[in-house]
């Protein structure tokens, strides 16, 4: 009992934790074994509300109703089982037993025959069949009024049932013993019940009531054994189902876990692959960037190298040009120095000649002065008497050296006169050295022809072939036009114009004071010496 109480508590706790659980069947069975049929019925009813097709629960419930004497309720439960399982042996047996207790012998016989048809070796069914047949016969005899066979006891109820009228009167002790057996029966302790009844029969072997009780107990034991067997089978099936369900659940859980793990592994693998790919991409990009940078650097260096090489080449070229120009300049300078040296030598030579000639000229000049003093009166008289002849067109040799010097010094107007008339020649008082230079220039430079213009471009002297007026006009146009252009462009006052032609011949326009000297050099003219002489002449002028 203690064991059953503990089992009931344990099963009740499980059911409370999970009301949907099928453990209610075990709890109902435990209640039944403990003799608490009402609690067993209540447990079955609550469980069947959730699991209406649970056959084992209906078997226990039917047994409970049967033990409680509720034959109709018990029959309803076993009919429900039969409906869902027409070949359920237990249902047929119990329905047969109920029919026997109700006195429905035909049905009881049919049910037991059906059981035997399903299981010919079923001893309980054979026993119950005989009992049903016998009672049916007795019932038939009683109905006919014939002397009946000894009345068989009523089928033993699952609960202690009132025994049928015993053939022999039982003693109080036997009656008391039978009540004890009923108590054992009620507690489903059939062995003890049988033992108690056998003790009665040992004393009174013919005690019919005890014999009948023994049969009932045996029948109940067999029935209980079948129920227990069915319950055990159901329990095993349920256990197997639960085990399978748990196995399935576990398998599914494992599969789910495995799938999840695989998914996780796959996800990690994908992440790893993605990360590896990203790293690869980043590495590739970094390499490309590095390569591009290196290429850019190489290109830049190449460009710098090329630029540097070009600059060096340019610098080298310029240096070479500078060196060449310097060499040319040096050569030019040396040539000029050589020319200057020769010119100075020539000048010194001529100066010496001039010095020798100077004495004679001094003598001439003295005589000329005397002559001039003597002719002054005559000159004055001539100038008053008539106009002076036009000096234009006269040859240079007709002027004295002082006349030429006066022109060069800007006194051409004095020579020519503002009115274009010849003016008296003024003596400049130029030094003999200056006169010598001019004369030397005019005579010594191998000049083919010369032209002397005054400040207005008028002809003073012409030693050129051709029309003097036209030559003067051309020369004046060139010089004045050039001077105007030079001033316009901001190059300052004009000093000289040189027109170079073939055969090393040149036309020089030299500005000497207010006048212009135009000379045409010859093929034999030393241009270098001429330039030196011109510079010297211009300096002196």
């Amino acid at each position: 009992m203690v064991k059953e109480d503990g089992e009931i508590k344990e099963l009740g706790k499980k059911l409370a934790q999970n009301p949907d659980s099928m453990v209610f069947v075990q709890l109902a069975d435990a209640y039944r074994r403990a003799g608490d049929l009402e609690s067993s019925v209540e447990t079955c009813l609550r469980g069947l509300e959730r699991h209406p097709n649970y056959a084992t629960a209906r078997v226990i419930l039917g047994r409970n109703y049967l033990d409680l004497g509720k034959l109709d309720e018990a029959g309803a439960e076993f009919l429900s089982i039969e409906k869902s399982d027409p070949e359920n042996i237990l249902a047929h047996r119990m329905l047969g037993q109920i029919a026997l207790q109700k006195g429905h012998f035909a049905e009881a016989i049919a049910r037991q025959q059906r059981v035997l048809a399903l299981d010919p070796d079923d001893g309980t069914a054979q026993e119950l069949l005989q009992q049903a047949l016998m009672q049916a016969k007795q019932s038939e005899s009683a109905a006919k009024g014939a002397p009946a066979a000894p009345k068989a006891p009523a089928p033993a109820p699952s609960a202690p049932a009132a025994p049928a009228a015993p053939k022999a009167a039982a003693t109080d002790e036997q009656s008391q013993a039978l009540k004890v057996a009923d108590i054992y029966i009620k507690k489903h302790d059939f062995e003890k019940a049988i033992e108690v009844v056998r003790e009665i029969l040992l004393v009174s072997p013919d005690h019919a009531l005890s014999q009948q009780k023994l049969k009932e107990i045996v029948a109940l034991k067999v029935a209980a054994s079948g129920v227990d067997k069915q319950l055990e089978e159901n329990r095993k099936a349920e256990e197997e189902a639960r085990r399978k369900a748990e196995e399935e659940a576990r398998r599914k859980a494992e599969e789910a876990a495995r799938a999840k793990a695989e998914e996780e592994v796959r996800r990690k693998a994908e992440e790893e692959a993605a990360r590896a790919k990203a790293e690869e991409e980043a590495r590739r990009k970094a390499e490309e960037a590095a390569r591009a940078k290196a290429e850019e650097e190489a290109r830049r260096k190449a460009e710098e190298e090329a630029g540097r090489a070009k600059a060096e080449e340019e610098a080298r070229r310029k240096a070479e040009e500078a060196a060449r120009a310097k060499a040319e300049e040096e050569a030019h300078r040396k040539a000029e120095e050589e020319i200057l040296r020769k010119a100075e030598e020539e000048t010194r030579r001529k100066a010496a000649e001039e010095a020798a000639r100077g004495k004679a000229e001094e003598e001439s000049r003295r005589k000329a002065e005397e002559e001039a003093a003597r002719g002054k009166a005559e000159e004055e008289a001539r100038s008053k008497a008539s106009k002076a002849p036009d000096v234009r067109g006269r040859g240079l040799e007709k002027f004295t050296q002082d006349d030429i010097l006066s022109v060069i010094a800007g006194s051409a107007e004095d020579l020519i006169g503002n009115d274009g008339q010849a003016a008296p020649v003024k003596k400049s008082g130029a030094s003999p050295e200056a006169l010598g230079v001019i004369e030397a220039f005019l005579k010594a430079q191998a000049i083919e022809a010369s032209l002397l213009l005054d400040a207005k471009g008028a002809m003073v002297d012409c030693r050129m072939p051709g029309d003097p007026a036209a030559l003067a006009q051309t020369a004046a146009a060139v010089f004045q036009g050039t001077e105007r252009a030079a001033l316009s462009v901001g190059l300052g006052g004009l000093k000289q114009v040189m027109i170079m032609g073939p055969d090393n011949r040149q036309i020089l326009f030299l500005k000497l004071g207010a006048g212009v000297l135009v000379v045409l050099t010859g093929r034999e003219t030393n241009v270098g010496l001429l330039r030196v002489a011109v510079q010297d002449l211009m300096k002196r002028a």
Binding site: E321, A325, E328, E329, H332, E448, A449, M464, P465, G466, A470, L471, T474, A475, A477, V478, G481, T482, R484, A485, A486, S488, V489, G490, L491, G492, G493, L494, K495, Q496, V497, M498, I499, M500, G501, P502, D503, R505, Q506, I507, V518, L520
Partner: protein, 119 residues
């Protein structure tokens, strides 16, 4: 031919150059290069063209014959001009410290190239 580039080369290669120009004898400046703001041959191209023409006339009248080169010396500079064909001339202006010999040489070289290009 890139006249301006050629003029620039000439100016760059002669020390003391202050400018150069290619001018038609009608006075119109075809191209010029100036290394100094003071030199602008465009302004006086016509007058220099007249100088060249008058110089040529003078050369003929004075019995010199053909004009190869004209050199004008002023207080501030020296201008060398040479004809290019029958219709153009090149002018190169040098400062007082300019390399006259180099200027004449470069002018002669460029004149030949210009003459070929303008022929």
């Amino acid at each position: 031919m890139d006249f301006k580039a050629a003029l620039k080369d000439m100016v760059d290669s002669v020390d003391g150059s202050i400018g150069a120009g290619l001018v038609g004898l009608d006075g119109l400046v075809i191209d010029q290069v100036s290394m100094s703001g003071d030199f602008d041959i465009t302004v006086v191209g016509a007058e220099y063209a007249t100088i060249v023409k008058n110089s040529s006339k003078a050369a003929r009248n004075f019995g010199l014959g053909k004009t190869d080169e004209i050199m004008v010396s002023t207080e501030k500079a020296t201008m060398i001009m040479t004809t290019v064909g029958e219709e153009y001339f090149i002018a190169l202006a040098l400062g007082l410290d300019g390399n006259l010999g180099r200027g004449r040489l470069e002018l002669k070289k460029q004149a030949a190239k210009f003459a070929q290009a303008l022929a």
